[in-house]
Amino acid sequence: MKRVQFRRPIFPFLLLIPQLAIIAVFFYWPAGEAIRGSFYLEDPFGFSSTYVGMDNYTDTVTGSEYVSVAKFTLGFTAVVAFFSLALALLLAVKADSVLRGAKTYRTLLMWVYAIAPPVAGLFGILLFDQAIGPFTKIAQSIGWDFKLGVNYWDSATAMVIVAVWKQIPINFIFFLAGMQSVPMAVREAALIDDPSGPSRFFHVIFPLLAPTAFFLLIINITYALFDTFGIIDILHKGEPGNNPVTLVYKVYLDGFRGNDLGGSSAQSVILMVLVLILTVVQFRFMERRVHYT
């Protein structure tokens, strides 16, 4: 194949400049500021700033709460990613086999995707309200004294349910599209070889869905880590108290609410490093197992 080549090599770089400029201004500059700020203790109004070396990091990591927040974040991310993927896959499999009214069914499932996280959080508040929430009433009827905002694990349950519910539609769209791109010939061949539905799904369809699933896994992990902020903020009504928070929410609490710029910069640098490690692990180790057609 003939390679397309620009005659003057500067020209492609010129074309890239707007993109690079945007990345530099909106990504690298703030990231650089966060790294710089994490080594200083600064008066919020910017009058004085003292270089403190690694103190912000040691204060952060040795804080009694940081480790438990980190543990919760990991657990929360795993549970949210697992359930949003599993339920979406289940729904996609079922939707794939629906013949009548399939479009309506799919549209209805996708609607939730258009809901902004804070609005999803508001639905959560209504569903789990201590006095009038339908979910609270159901839980109480089976003897579970559900109390959002009072009991740590009850609040965590509400956070997971709302976060999963919000994320299912996008997973569903991708899974459904992935399944519909599995060639008919493959399906028919599988049908002849293996009459068992579940076994056929796990041996034939699912491996072919692996690229989609892998992509969604990354999307879901970043969703649970970062995009659930709005849901958490609304469910906690801005006052976390003894309720579980994620690392990102803690950055906001300390930096935005508490005006501790150095401490929250250090926390965001730690997060950046975590995400970097996560990305490397995912692409170096997990992607090898994914079969692209």
């Binding site: 919020p44 910017g46 204060d59 709460e65 006095a131 959002l148 108290g241 309720n243 150095g262």
Partner: protein, 434 residues
């Protein structure tokens, strides 16, 4: 023709207004008063603008307290700060500590020929936003204090009166209310009501260094037997069904009182206006209870709420305008209006006297409780506190109190954690000021 007359009148009024407009000084006021409170703020601004033609004040709602403070800080760093900024009690140390960011309100008023005497302000209000020497730095604005509301019918049904002490609550009031089918009590803000004002009500030191007002390093004195006993009692009350805890949210604890499930509720004197609208039953209010075993002479509580700060870096005309607005705001008439509309206490003695003379408290005796409690005899430790990173310290309190009440942590462990983390935060804050 009507239209012509109208057009002529419009042209004339523009011509008249134009020269005046050219000399008018515009100032902005960033505040955190949403809902009904925001409407009252807008009315006050409109009244000020209508009262004179030299200055024009524009109030801007910037979200809740924390958001307003953060927006103000960001604006200040960008050189775009408003003339007046509302900062809440817990943020006071942050803004007062940043000495170049604000013009002390006492200096501002004196420099601009507005008479000022701190004795004009009621005693519980005077010192909270002042420096160690008593110089007023921020102008108290929406000032409230925690008081105890009660459902009149509920107490009658149980055959009890509102308790004066926690001993009375524990042995008489609460059991009677419980057998009458109520959850006896709830509260809406543990750091404010059960911590800061607990120390003030019992005249106990809350922090070293003159409760933090002095220069130098401050350490919190929260690990104190009296407050630990209070929280141990609260935990046992909750376990025995004598107290309701509905989480950290303010409204979550107020709602059961409004639904008449909870008979007594510790809230803000500033809740009075809202409660009058939302509660469709007869309620009244009285002082915050105290522990007789700790003191037999309970002292005043201090104000919560927020103050207005004049930001630095403004022109002399703008400062003059801000001073004139403060003169208008602290006038007895404006303060009485604010007090009546919102339930926040009037900050000057003159306004309080005006409300008394007007017979307002004869109609609504509960509206006077807050100001009466603020003007109770004070003590060495009742003027307030000044601690940096205090928003985070409050978050730590809420978290540890939650664990304590859930039974995940012992009282001793929870208070030891608060003490340790708060002191760490205070030391960090001291370094930001260095």
């Amino acid at each position: 023709m009507n239209f012509r007359k109208l057009a002529a009148a419009a042209a004339l009024s523009t011509a008249v207004a134009a020269p005046a407009f050219a000399q008018q000084t515009d100032i902005t006021w960033w505040h955190a008063m949403g809902g009904r409170l925001g409407e009252v703020v807008n009315e006050i601004a409109a009244d000020f603008n209508a009262s004179q033609s030299d200055y024009k004040l524009t109030p801007v709602y910037k979200g809740n307290y924390e958001e307003t403070l953060t927006a103000g800080i960001a604006a200040f760093r960008g050189g775009e700060q408003p003339d007046i900024m509302q900062v809440f009690d817990a943020g006071a140390a942050t803004i007062i500590g940043a000495k170049g960011a604000i013009v002390p309100v006492e200096d501002l008023l004196k420099d601009n020929g507005v008479p000022f005497d701190s004795n004009d302000y009621i005693s519980g209000v005077r010192n909270f936003y002042a420096d160690a020497a008593g110089k007023m730095i921020g102008m108290p604005f929406n000032s409230s204090t925690p008081i105890m509301y009660y459902n009149v019918a509920a107490l009658e049904k149980a055959g009890v009166t509102a308790p004066k002490t926690w001993e009375e609550f524990q042995s008489v009031t609460a059991p009677a209310l419980k057998s009458a089918g109520y959850i006896p009590m709830a509260q809406s803000h543990m750091p404010w009501i059960f911590t800061e004002n607990f120390f003030s009500r019992h005249n106990l030191p809350f922090a070293t260094n003159d409760n933090g007002y002095g220069d130098g390093e401050t350490k919190i004195l929260i690990n104190n037997d009296a407050i630990k006993k209070h929280f141990a009692s609260m935990k046992s009350w909750i376990d025995d069904g004598l107290f309701g805890y509905y989480g950290t949210g303010w409204g979550d604890n107020q709602a059961p009182f409004e639904r008449q499930e909870v008979a007594m509720w510790l809230g803000s004197s500033g809740s009075f206006g809202g409660l009058s609208q939302s509660a469709d039953f007869e309620f009244s209010a009285t002082y915050l209870p105290y522990w007789e075993s700790v003191t037999t002479e309970p002292t005043n509580t201090f104000i919560g709420g927020a103050a207005l700060f004049a930001m630095s870096g403004k022109s002399a005309e703008a400062n003059k305008a801000t001073a004139e607005f403060f003169r208008f705001l602290t006038s007895a008439k404006t303060q009485y209006f604010w007090h009546k509309e919102t339930g926040y206490v009037p900050i000057t003695n003159a306004a309080y006297e005006m409300a008394q003379a007007d017979g307002y408290y004869d109609i609504k005796p509960a509206a006077e409780i807050g100001i009466k409690q603020l003007t109770l005899p004070g003590g060495e430790w009742t003027k307030g506190y000044r601690m940096g990173f205090y928003v985070q310290i409050r978050d730590v309190m809420n978290r540890e109190y939650g664990k304590l009440l859930a039974g995940e942590k012992s009282v001793d462990d929870a208070f030891a954690t608060i003490e340790e983390e708060a002191n760490k935060l205070l030391a960090r804050f001291a370094r930001t000021q260095g």
